[in-house]
């Protein structure tokens, strides 16, 4: 079974890692539906894929809103068929030391980064179970394993995603559905560009590879996990971090 003709849903595909994943999957012959939080974002996804001569388009979906997920998936299924590949990539940060962290910082990061994964996964499972084939790939983070000051909410959400993924993998293995995580380290995206020079320098000191990763280096691992030969890999977290943390 090749990936040709299958539909993939990639959340948060406007920029950075999500954009690279959308492209990498589309290059495997998958029709990629990328989600964005705004109409402009969705249009930019469509335009980026079109420009590269690839099959796919963008839609507006807010992964923190259950109704928006339901409506988005319905539209995708009608237009392109049930997605058999799901990449949960959308995520936000609201960093602060715990002593200063607000309830809203905690709740919104948990909702957007963890509850969304539960909701989208649940929504695609029926189609995958029917097809006896599915790939769920959740983008975690190196900090899920190693912790990071000022990111209690983000670390909790990402570690939660990894635990959820292992449970899901056990539940659905005998239906040909795999669930895995990819945990990027410091990747050159808008999220890491927010850091100042001092923070950047400190970061590079702990990366044996001596550089930031590229979004395409994360996307390549996602494309592998989505592929047919990856069928026996499930419940796993693959680190892509230049050696800074080896779980």
């Amino acid at each position: 079974m090749s990936l040709e003709g299958k539909t993939a849903l990639v959340t948060g595909a406007t920029r950075g890692i999500g954009k690279a994943i959308a492209r990498a999957l589309a290059e495997q012959g998958v029709e990629v539906v990328g989600t964005a939080t705004s109409a402009e974002g969705a249009e930019s996804i469509t335009a980026a894929l079109k420009e590269a001569g690839l099959n796919g388009y963008g839609i507006v979906m807010n992964v923190a809103d259950p109704d928006s997920i339901e409506a988005g998936l319905k539209a995708v299924t009608e237009k392109s068929g049930a997605p058999l590949i799901l990449v949960n990539n959308a995520g936000i940060t609201r960093d602060n030391l715990l002593m200063r962290l607000k309830d809203d910082d905690w709740t919104s990061v948990l909702e957007t980064n963890l509850s969304s994964v539960y909701r989208t996964s649940k929504a695609v499972l029926r189609g995958m179970a029917k097809a006896r084939w599915g790939r769920i790939i959740n983008i975690s983070s190196v900090v899920a394993g190693m912790g990071n000051p000022g990111q209690g909410n983000y670390c909790a959400a990402k570690a939660g995603v990894e635990g959820f993924t292992r449970s899901l993998a056990k539940e659905m293995s005998n239906r040909g559905i795999t669930a895995n995580c990819v945990a990027p380290g410091f990747i050159d995206t808008d999220m890491t560009r927010k850091l100042d020079d001092k923070q950047r320098e400190a970061m590079l000191e702990v990366i044996p590879a001596g550089r930031l990763g590229e979004p395409e280096e994360v996307a390549a691992v996602v494309a592998f996990l989505a592929s047919e030969p990856a069928a026996y890999v499930t419940g796993e977290t693959i680190h892509v971090n230049g050696g800074m943390y080896m779980g």
């Binding site: 029926r126 179970a129 539940e171």
Partner: protein
């Protein structure tokens, strides 16, 4: 048009991968037809689609046999 009984049995065969001759009205999905918990969830979903109805979780849990499913469908569609 097939009867409810025939349609339910057809779905049970498809979902659980059993032969029609093995399926009696009294057959228990788990004990007689070898369904696991995920099979029973999928079976309920397939019944919902076939009969265009929604079976609430608390009702779905009570559907243990082929006859239970037939009775439920007859009463609710």
């Amino acid at each position: 048009m097939s009867t409810v009984e025939e349609r339910v049995k057809k779905i049970v065969c498809e979902q659980l991968g059993v032969k029609e001759s093995e399926v009696q009205n009294s057959s228990s999905f788990v004990e007689d037809l070898g369904a696991d918990s995920l099979d029973t969830v999928e079976l309920v979903m397939a019944l919902e689609e076939e009969f265009e109805t929604e079976i609430p979780d608390e009702e779905a849990e009570k559907l243990a046999s082929v006859q239970d499913a037939i009775d439920y469908i007859v009463a609710h569609t």
